[in-house]
């Protein structure tokens, strides 16, 4: 626990009004509106990279927008560098950099004009060209924004977020739409910023990215945090997995396994916390029986598996106990919180 918290979130709730008042339309539930963030608490230490994960509509962007000071919390408190980002915005803004999920730039300005404008509204801004070069747009300064590719737009957005040398950086899905090289460059940049002391809060769809970058992360599901810790901690409790095809003429019960296996047709899937001994057991048996295990795969748990599992468990937990909510929609983690498409 060295250093202080750059970001503190305590009991945050955010509700979108049903009809007019809110920024987005709700699902017309019994209380009207839609509660996108439901009692979320976490903190990010100074100099840390913190990743917020979740499926679409989990509430990541709704949470980040409150931290960015774009919206007032419905309930709970939020502090960025010790200040309320909404009511004390003039104290917070000069020290933060923001990359929204979708950049907002006039399409008829050139890249350089956009950066110049942004530098003009930022105190102690670095020269626009320097910011553009940092993100690899140095050769595209005279191009109109409307002619940029999706990945280039994200780079431009990143350049603007960095232009004021922020102490705290909010990156809402920074690499969506970038090609693999762009994603690698961005990851490299974020690491370097951390090395220089910047605090980074990022949301992402790419779990490997979170796994590689984040010091700590939280998984959101239906407006709540359903799992958090270092990537190692989150993954550690998850079992490894072995899969293969059942050899012809072999029945599932003949398998030598001491752990439970799930058989689906001819496909066998084993989940274990002791990958090596179980795998050894299996391979020795296969050699002695003289059979080939087709499509054999063995892998440790990844953040992706952990994520899917936690998210699905969160779904189940979230669905049942609240009778007032009515029936759940035809499921899947893709439920859209913005349109409130629930049933």
């Amino acid at each position: 626990m060295e250093g202080m918290d750059a970001i503190e979130v305590e009991g945050l709730r955010r509700r979108y009004e049903a009809a007019d008042g809110g920024t987005r339309r709700g699902n017309g539930g019994s209380q009207g509106g839609f509660e996108a963030v439901r009692d979320v608490s976490f903190s990010v230490r100074e100099g840390e990279i913190f990743a917020l994960l979740g499926t679409n509509g989990a509430g990541k962007t709704s949470t980040v927008e409150v931290l960015e000071g774009l919206a007032r919390p419905t309930a709970g408190t939020v502090r960025v560098l010790g200040f309320d980002p909404f009511t004390e915005r003039s104290y917070v803004r000069p020290r933060t950099g923001v990359m929204l999920q979708e950049g907002g730039f006039p399409s008829e300005l050139t890249v350089e004009e956009t950066a110049t404008m942004w530098a003009g509204v930022t105190s102690e801004a670095r020269p626009p060209r320097e910011a553009l070069e940092i993100v690899g747009l140095g050769a595209r300064t005279q191009v109109r924004v409307k002619q940029l590719s999706g990945g280039e737009r994200r780079r431009l957005d990143l350049a603007l977020a960095l232009i004021g040398r922020p102490e705290v950086l909010f990156l809402d899905e920074p690499t969506t739409g970038m090609d693999p090289e762009g994603r690698r460059d961005t990851a490299e940049l974020v690491r370097q910023l951390r090395a220089e002391g910047t605090t980074v809060l990022l949301t992402t769809h790419y779990l490997e990215e979170a796994e590689q970058l984040a010091d700590r992360l939280a998984i959101m599901q239906a407006g709540r945090i359903v799992g958090s810790g270092t990537p190692e901690q989150v993954v550690a409790e998850r079992p490894s997995r072995i899969t293969f095809r059942l050899p012809p003429g072999t029945e599932a019960r003949e398998l030598p396994l001491t752990v439970q296996a799930a058989v689906e047709g001819r496909r066998v899937s084993v989940r274990t916390h002791d990958l090596q001994p179980v795998l050894t057991e299996l391979l020795v048996w296969a050699r002695e029986a003289g059979v080939t295990l087709e499509n054999l795969q063995a892998r440790s748990a990844s953040l992706e598996e952990a994520f899917l599992e936690i998210a699905q468990a969160g779904n189940r937990r979230d669905g049942e106990p609240k009778g007032s909510k009515g029936p759940k929609g035809p499921k899947g983690p893709r439920r859209n919180a913005w349109t409130g498409a629930k049933a």
Binding site: Y91, R93, P94, L100, G103, G120, D185, E188
Partner: protein, 281 residues
């Protein structure tokens, strides 16, 4: 893109060192530097937007001809108004409606729909700076046009210098403030850029018919004229015309000022309550 372009230079030299007092951070103070940066970008955009530029620059000039024609048809006898003192304020009214009001509704809606307003609000500029700076280029064009049209018109129509330049100034300044705020209020009620052409129509029509832009209210029946005096642009037109005709009494001047200020405040209140900084999705 070329990844070696410079991703490896030092990015945030001051990252760790900067734990001292907050930078800048004086609340409630407008920054000229920020306003200039935003207004400059907005001017660039206006110059690149052909149709907006046409509406702002040429339409008022072109319509001046039809203005003169319509005024000449009206029976001005006994009103104390000449063709010249009817046309000159009408031209300013036209400038206010097209160069300022119509242009700015388009600007506000377009910036909102492009998420520019939302993005700007993540930065240091405050709301007033963002909306005000976006209006500056249109206001500057409107002002320049007014000066050119009034000077040219006064010479061509043989009107001479206004006897009450203070009323002229009050009319122009109040008109611009009112039109800017009405534009922001209209933008609050406009969902898409396409709809902006529709939502500006009511005020345009009401103004052209009922506020004495084309035909002075003096030729209307009294009851109708009294009602029309409550419309937003009517007091502006009265103030402008009186700069030459000096027809407004002291009380009449106050009344016009009050109505104009009232509409301006109502628009400001609507903006405060209803303005959206991002599109409905």
């Amino acid at each position: 893109m070329d990844g070696g372009e410079g991703m490896s230079t030092t990015i945030n030299d001051g990252g760790t060192a900067r734990t001292g007092p907050p930078r800048d951070g004086r609340p409630g103070r407008l920054s000229l530097r920020r306003i200039r940066a935003l207004a400059r970008a907005e001017l660039t955009l206006l110059v690149r937007n052909r149709s907006a530029l046409f509406v702002a620059l040429l339409l008022p000039v072109c319509l001046t001809a039809s203005l003169k024609a319509s005024v000449e048809q009206a029976d001005l006898s006994g009103t104390g108004i000449s063709v010249g003192t009817a046309v000159l304020p009408g031209m300013v009214g036209m400038v206010l409606m097209f160069a300022v009001y119509s242009t700015l509704v388009g600007v506000y809606v377009a910036r909102r729909e492009e998420l520019v307003l939302k993005r700007l609000r993540t930065g240091e500029a405050d709301d007033l700076e963002i909306l005000g700076a976006a209006a500056l280029p249109a206001l500057a064009i409107g002002l320049a046009q007014s000066v050119v049209l009034l000077t040219g018109g006064a010479l061509l129509l043989d009107v001479g210098a206004p006897g009450r330049p203070d009323l002229l100034l009050a009319g122009v300044v109040l008109g611009m403030a009112m039109m800017t705020l009405l534009a922001a209020a209209s933008a609050a009620l406009t969902r898409t850029t396409e709809l902006a052409q529709l939502t500006t129509l009511p005020l345009m029509l009401v103004t052209f018919i009922g506020s004495g832009v084309f035909v002075p209210l003096e030729v209307f029946p009294d009851r109708l004229a009294d009602f029309c005096r409550l419309l937003p642009m009517t007091p502006i037109m009265d103030l402008l015309r009186s700069a030459w005709t000096e027809q407004l009494s002291g009380l009449g001047t106050l009344r016009s000022l009050a109505i104009a200020v009232g509409w301006t405040l109502l628009a400001a209140w609507t903006v405060r309550k209803r303005f959206r900084w991002e599109p409905r999705r």
